[in-house]
Symmetry: C2
C-alpha cells in the first residue's frame, strides 16, 4: 500500500502556490484552493468557467436536501431517504469576452499562477491571455470574510496591450447541478434595485432559502438580465493600452435554514448588509481577515524547524480546519470533507468528537464547546432515533447534517454506536481539559443520561445473566460487521455509564443535576442499572498475552496477511466482494488501539506494546484516520521509524494527493488527525487523566518544533528541541502538568532537559 506523493504546489511556510497550470490536477487544485468561513465554502474553481475536469461547488453549512429516491429496503429503523449538503448558488461566475472571444484557461494560457495566502485567506490567480488582437493580463482575487460570515469578495483586474473593449457578465446562478446530475433549487424571486442585484431560491424538499446579493463596483451602468434561478449584469468596458482596470464584486449570501424568514425580510436584510459591506470596502474587509488569521496563528500555530514540507502541510491543515469550523455557530458541524466537496454528503460523523475535538479543545475551547452544543441541540433527533431502533434514551446518528440519521446503510446506521459513545467521550474530554462545570451541568449531563439510557437499552445480558455487552454491532473497525462484544463498544459504554454516574455523584448538590434527571424521567432503578451494567460489562482481555480481543471470536477468524494482498486490490471496498471483506482478521482502522488511545491512562505500556504489535500488522488503514493513531502509539512505544513512517503523509495527505481522491474534496477530519499526530504523537500529549500530560520526543529529521495548547483557559507554548523541552505561558496562574511522568506546577516558563 505504498502511497506516493503527487507534489506540484510550491513549498512555502504560509502560502500554497501553483506555478503554471496543471490540467490533470484541475479538481485537486479546486479542493486545495477552497475557501470557507464555516458559514459557507467555495471550491477553488475558475471564476470564468473551465474546460477541464471540474466540480464547481459552493456550499452552505446546514443547507441540505433529501434524496429523490427511497432506499428499497423497508424495515423499521432503516433510513428510507438520506439527506445531504447540496451544491448552492454560484456567486463567483463571470463571463469574460476579450475581443469577442470567451476566456477560458487553455493550453495557450501563459504565466498561470495562483496563490492562497494563509495569513489572510486571500486567493489570487493570474495569467496572460492572447487573442488575435493582442495580449491581456488577468488577475482574479477572492476571499470570504472570517468576521462577517455572509460577506464575500471578488476582484478581477484586466490589463490589455491595446485599446479595446471587453464584455463582462457577472452572474449569481442557483441553477447549479449537484454531483453534476440534479439541481435541488427552485426559483423564488430575482430582484434588483439601483446597483444591487439578488436571486432568492429555495431547496426542493427542505424549503430552505438561499438569497444571494451582489453589488458591482464598476463606474458605468450594467444591463440587468433575469434568468431561471439567477441574475446577471452585463458590461462592455473600455480599456486603454497598458492601463489596468479593476472590477470588484461585493457579495452577501443569506440563508434561511429554518423557514423562519419571509422573502421580503431576506431582501431587506441582504440589501442592508450589502450596503454596509460596500461602504466598508474591499481593503477594509481584507484587513479584518488578516487580523482574524493573525489571532489564529498566534494561538494555534505549529512551527517545525528543519522540515519545510511538514511545516507547510501542518499550517495548511490548521488553516483548512479553521476555515471549515471555528465554532461561531453551535448549529454547525464538520463534514468529512468540510465545505470543500460533495463527497460524504457533507455529513458529520463520529470524527467530530473523536478526531476533531482535540484540535479545538487545545486551541479554541469555545469552538470545542460549540461542537458539543451541536449534539445538545440535536438531542431530540437522537431521542427519536433511539425510538426507531426500539431503544430508550438518545442514539446519535452515524452521519448527519440536521441531527437525524442520514445514513441509509443499515449496517452502519443500526450497528455502530461510536457516535453516541463519542459524544459522551467528547463531554468527558472537554470537561477534563477545561473544567467547565457550567457546560457539564447545563448540557453535558443531560446528554450523558440519555446516551447511557440508550446504551443500557441497546445492550443485553448474556444468557447466564453474568455479562452485559453489545450484540450485533460494528465497532470502529468497519471490516467486522455484525459481531458480539466488540471490546471498543463495550468499554466505551462502560466508561459512559461510569462517567455519567461520577458526574451525578460529584455534583449531587447542584440543582441542575436533579433538573436533568427530572427532564429525562430516569428512575432510580434505571440509574442503578447503569452501575450494574458497568460493573458487569464483558471486556475480553487475556492476562497472559495482555491482548484485548477485538470482539468475541476475533482470534479464531481466518488469518490474512495484508502483505499477501496484491496492491491493485486496494481499496478492498472497491475490489473485493462485499461479504469477503468481513470474514477474516484484517482490520480497517484501529479498534482495540482506538480505545487504548482514548483512555491511554488506563493501560500500561506493556499492554499497549502487546496490542500494538498484534493489531498493527493486521491493519490495512483503509481509513485516512488510521495512520495517525498508529503513529501516536509508535511514538509512545519508542518506535521512532514506524512513527515517522505512519506520519509520512499525515500533514500533506491532500497537498500531495496521497489518496488520489483529493479532487473530490479535502480530508478535513483527517487533517485534524494530523494535528493529533504531532501534538499527541511527538508531543506525547495525553488528556484523559486528571492532569494533562506531555512526553515530547522529536523526530531526528527535525531541528525543533513548537505547538500551543490551551488548558483551563491558559495558553501554554511548548518548544521541543533535541536537547530540551521549553514550556512557557503568559499568565502567571499556576497550572499542574505531568511531564515525562513527573508532576510540575507551571508558572511562567519551565525548561526540562531531554
Amino acid at each position: 500500500m505504498a502511497k506516493i506523493a503527487q507534489r506540484y504546489v510550491s513549498v512555502d511556510p504560509f502560502k500554497i502556490i501553483e506555478n503554471g497550470f496543471h490540467p490533470e490536477r484541475s479538481k485537486v487544485s479546486e479542493s486545495l484552493f477552497s475557501l470557507a468561513n464555516e458559514y459557507c465554502g467555495i471550491r477553488g474553481t475558475f471564476d470564468e468557467g473551465s474546460s477541464f475536469e471540474t466540480l464547481r461547488g459552493s456550499y452552505f453549512n446546514g443547507v441540505y436536501d433529501y434524496a429523490k429516491e427511497d432506499t428499497p429496503i423497508h424495515y423499521k429503523g432503516i433510513i428510507q431517504r438520506t439527506h445531504f449538503m447540496i451544491n448552492s448558488v454560484d456567486w463567483i461566475k463571470v463571463g469574460i469576452k476579450l475581443d469577442h472571444h470567451s476566456v477560458k484557461v487553455d493550453a495557450k494560457t501563459k504565466g498561470f499562477r495562483r496563490e492562497l495566502d494563509m495569513t489572510s485567506g486571500l486567493l489570487t490567480r493570474e495569467f496572460d491571455y492572447e487573442t488575435d488582437q493582442g495580449n491581456y493580463h488577468l488577475c482574479f482575487t477572492r476571499f470570504l470574510s472570517m468576521v462577517d460570515c455572509h460577506r464575500a469578495y471578488q476582484t478581477l483586474e484586466i490589463t490589455s496591450d491595446h485599446d479595446t473593449t471587453v464584455d463582462l457578465e457577472f452572474f449569481l446562478d442557483s441553477k447549479v447541478l449537484h454531483w453534476g446530475h440534479d439541481c435541488y433549487y427552485k426559483g423564488i424571486k430575482n430582484y434588483h434595485e439601483d446597483d444591487m442585484f439578488a436571486t432568492i431560491n429555495e431547496t426542493l424538499t427542505t424549503g430552505q432559502k438561499v438569497a444571494s446579493f451582489m453589488h458591482l463596483d464598476i463606474p458605468q451602468e450594467g444591463k440587468y438580465v433575469n434568468h431561471d434561478r439567477g441574475v446577471s449584469v452585463k458590461y462592455t468596458v473600455a480599456f486603454k493600452a497598458g492601463q489596468p482596470r479593476v472590477f470588484t464584486r461585493f457579495v452577501v449570501n443569506l440563508v434561511d435554514k429554518d423557514q423562519s424568514q419571509s422573502v421580503a425580510s431576506l431582501i431587506k436584510d441582504g440589501v442592508k448588509e450589502l450596503r454596509t459591506s460596500v461602504n466598508d470596502g474591499y481593503l477594509g474587509a481584507l484587513e479584518k481577515n488578516k487580523a482574524f488569521w493573525q489571532n489564529v496563528w498566534d494561538k494555534s500555530d505549529i512551527v517545525i524547524e528543519g522540515d519545510p514540507l511538514n511545516q507547510q502541510g501542518i499550517r495548511f491543515n490548521i488553516f483548512q480546519l479553521t476555515q471549515t469550523y471555528h465554532g461561531f455557530d453551535p448549529h454547525n458541524n464538520i463534514g468529512a470533507k468540510g465545505l470543500t466537496g460533495e463527497a460524504y454528503s457533507g455529513h458529520a460523523f463520529w470524527d467530530s468528537e473523536t478526531y476533531c475535538l482535540p484540535f479545538y479543545l487545545f486551541n479554541n475551547p469555545n469552538g470545542a464547546k460549540n461542537l458539543l452544543m451541536f449534539r445538545y441541540y440535536t438531542l431530540p433527533q437522537a431521542i427519536e432515533r433511539a425510538g426507531m431502533l426500539d431503544c430508550k434514551g438518545a442514539c446519535y446518528p452515524i452521519a448527519t447534517l440536521n441531527g437525524k440519521e442520514g445514513c441509509n446503510l443499515w449496517q452502519h446506521a443500526s450497528l455502530q454506536f461510536q457516535p453516541s459513545t463519542g459524544v459522551a467521550y467528547g463531554i468527558f474530554h472537554y470537561f477534563n481539559v477545561t473544567h467547565d462545570v457550567d457546560f457539564l451541568l447545563d448540557y453535558g449531563f443531560e446528554m450523558l443520561l440519555q446516551i447511557s439510557n440508550f446504551l443500557l437499552s441497546r445492550g443485553q445480558w448474556s444468557q447466564d445473566g453474568k455479562h452485559f455487552g453489545f450484540y450485533c454491532v460494528m465497532g470502529p473497525d468497519e471490516f467486522q460487521m455484525m459481531v458480539n462484544h466488540n471490546t471498543y463498544t463495550n468499554l466505551l459504554a462502560k466508561k459512559t455509564f461510569e462517567f455519567t454516574l461520577s458526574v451525578m455523584k460529584k455534583f449531587n448538590d447542584d440543582p441542575r443535576v436533579a433538573k436533568a434527571l427530572a427532564k429525562t424521567g430516569l428512575s432510580a432503578k434505571e440509574l442503578s442499572e447503569f452501575a450494574r451494567a458497568a460493573e458487569h460489562t464483558l471486556i475480553l482481555y487475556d492476562e497472559k498475552t495482555k491482548l484485548y480481543e477485538q470482539h468475541q471470536g476475533f482470534f479464531d477468524l481466518p488469518h490474512i496477511d495484508p502483505d499477501s494482498i496484491p496492491v491493485e486490490e486496494f481499496p478492498l471496498y472497491a475490489h473485493w466482494s462485499y461479504d469477503r471483506i468481513y470474514r477474516n482478521d484484517l482490520v480497517k482502522q484501529p479498534d482495540v488501539l482506538m480505545f487504548m488511545f482514548l483512555y491511554s491512562h488506563d493501560f500500561t505500556l506493556d499492554e499497549k506494546k502487546a496490542n500494538y504489535e498484534f493489531y498493527e500488522p493486521r491493519c490495512i488503514h483503509e481509513s485516512s484516520l488510521s495512520p495517525s493513531i498508529h503513529s501516536i502509539f509508535a511514538s509512545e512505544l519508542g518506535k521512532e521509524k514506524e512513527a515517522l513512517d505512519f506520519f509520512g503523509f499525515a500533514t500533506r495527505m491532500d497537498l500531495d494527493d496521497y489518496n488520489r481522491n483529493a479532487g473530490e474534496g479535502l480530508h478535513t477530519t483527517s487533517i485534524a488527525a494530523a494535528w493529533m499526530n504531532i501534538v499527541y504523537g511527538f508531543g506525547g500529549l495525553r488528556s484523559d487523566s486528571p492532569s494533562v500530560t506531555l512526553a515530547p520526543t522529536i523526530p531526528s529529521i527535525w531541528t525543533a518544533y513548537q505547538f500551543k495548547i490551551n488548558v483551563q483557559n491558559q495558553s501554554i507554548g511548548v518548544k521541543v528541541t533535541h536537547e530540551e523541552v521549553l514550556l512557557s505561558k503568559t499568565s502567571t496562574e499556576p497550572l499542574e502538568l505531568v511531564i515525562y511522568g513527573c508532576k510540575y506546577v507551571l508558572k511562567e516558563t519551565l525548561r526540562i532537559k531531554r
Copy 2:
C-alpha cells in the same frame, strides 16, 4: 401467535365454492380462484372489472423485467437491479352494458356464486343483476388448457327477463399496471384479420414479446377498436326475454421469452393455433382438461376420511401445486406465490428443491427431474454469480427467474448458500429415490462439481488450520444474519462434498464422469481438497446434551421467550427494529431441525428429541414453511398433539387465510410443505437412506387416509387406518421398502398391523 381461520368458502371434496360475495375478501378470493397451467396464470379477478380491492394479475412463467431504479449500495457482488415477474396481458377483460349501465358486482348483486372445480380446472361465476329495465342473470366460465398451454377459454352467458340489447366489449389489454404502479410493456403491433384479433407487446428492458390472440364466437360482426397496447371488439347483441345467450372467447397467448421470434412469425403461429383451438371447440378442450386432472388425481390424490376440512385443503394444495408446475418445460420453476400474485417477484427460492421437490419426486418424477434441469440450464449464471462473489464454481441465486441473482438484499444474496446446497441435496434426493443414473451423470454430477468447488472456495480454514467451515453466513434461520460455522451450512457443504466424491468413485468407469471433470477443469488437488474439507468440517455438537449448536456462539446469545412477545408485535420483521431481530436466540424457521429432517437417517431418535425440545420453543415460525417441519418431527417423536397443532393450518393456510396475506397470492411453496406434513409427518416417509422408509401414524381425528408415492417408477398406494397399513401397487416387480424399521419386499399388496 394464535392463527385464526377466516373461513368463508364451502367445504367440498373437489370444489372451492363461494356462496354470496364477500367484498372484504375480494383479493383473497382472487388468489384462491386463480387458474394456472405452468405456462401462465390468471388471478380469479372479475371479467367485467371490479369496484372492490383488486390485484388484477395475469402472469407468464419466465416473463419478467428489471427494476427501473438501482440499489443505492454499490459494492462488488451486490445486485444493482433486481428482476421480477411482471403483470402481463389482461385477456379476460370484458365490458358489459346492460340497459346502458356498466355491470360491476356491487351490494345489490344477488345470487352471487363462484365455484372452482378441481376435477376440470373450470372456474364458474354467476350472479343476478337488476337494472331499472329489468333483471339479468350472468354466468362466466374460464379455464386454461392443461394440455395445450397457450390456450385459454372464457364464456359469458347472459339471460334477460325482457327484450333488450346488450353492449359487450372484449379486450386484450397489455397496458396493465404492475403492483398498481408501472406498466412494463411497450406496444409493438395490434393486428386483426377476419375474426382474429391480436396485440403484440414487448417488455421494456428484457425485450420479451407477449402476443395475445382472440376469436369471439358471436354470430355477428363486431367493431374492432385499436388501443395503446391492446385491442377490443365491440358488439351490441339482441336478447329475447328468457332466452339465454352464450358468448365464447378463444384465446391463444404466445410468449417469445428469448427474443428469437419475429412479430410476423408470432402472428402466423398465433393465428394458426387459434384456428385449431376454435375448431377443437370449448367442450373438446374442457374434456381434455378433465382427463388431465383425472390422471393427476389417480396418481397424486390424498384421501382423508373423517376430516372434510383437511380433505378439501390438501386437494386444493395438490391442485394449485400442479397448476403452478408439473414440469412440462424444464426452463420453468416455482415462484413462492406460484403464478397467483406479484409478491416475492415470482422468484424461485431454495424452496423449489427443499420443499417442493419431494411432492414431484413421489408423484411426478419427470416433473422433479425438470425442476432440477432448470438448475442445469442456469448453471452458467450460477458460475458467473460465484465469480461476482470472488469465488470459484457455481453459486445458485437466492431468488431468481432467469438464473441470475435477483435479490438485491446483499445480506441474503451474499450470505445464504441454501440454494446451492439445496440443489446438491435435490440431486442426491432425486437419485436416491429414482435411481436415475442418466440424469446424475449427464447433468447432476457437473452441477455437484461446480457447487462443491464454490463451497470449497467460499469456505475457510480456521486460524489454527484444523477446521473447515463457513464464516459470515446466514443459515435457513434468517434471524441470525452474519454468523460463523452455521451448522446447517457446514453440514450441507460436507454432505455435498461427500456425495460428489461418492458419485465420482461409484461411476468412475463411466466416461461421463471424466467428461464432466474435464468440463469443469478441476484438478486432482482441488478434488482432494473436497475430501479434506469434508473430513475437517466443523460440526458443533455437544455429546452430553446431544445438541447441535446452530452456529458458533448461539448458545450464549441473550434469551427471549417467544411467549413473552406481545401478539401485536408479530411478524417481527414488520414491527421490530431490523437489527433487533438478530441479537437473541429466537429462531425464525428450522435450521438445526432442517438438516436433521433432510438427513433424518443420520440422526438418532434421542438426538432428534433433544434438538426438537431445545429449538422448537425458540422458534416463532415467521416463515410459512416452518410449522410443517416441526409437525413432522413431533410425529416421529410420538408427540401427537403437537404434530396436529402444527398441522392445524397447513392444508388450509390460504383457504382460511391464516396468515392474513393470501390476498397477495397463494403460499405456493408452503402448499408443498403441507403435502410433506402428511406424507412425511403422519406417513413417516423418509427418503434419504438407501431404501425408502415408512412409519405411518394416524391422527386420532381421522378415520383413515391414503396417499400414493412413486418409487423407482412404481406407484405405491398407502392406506392407513387405526388398525393397519395397507400397501398396494399395480406392477408386480419387487420393491424393497422399510416399514416401521423392518425391511419388506413389496410385490402387490402388503398389510401390516399397526
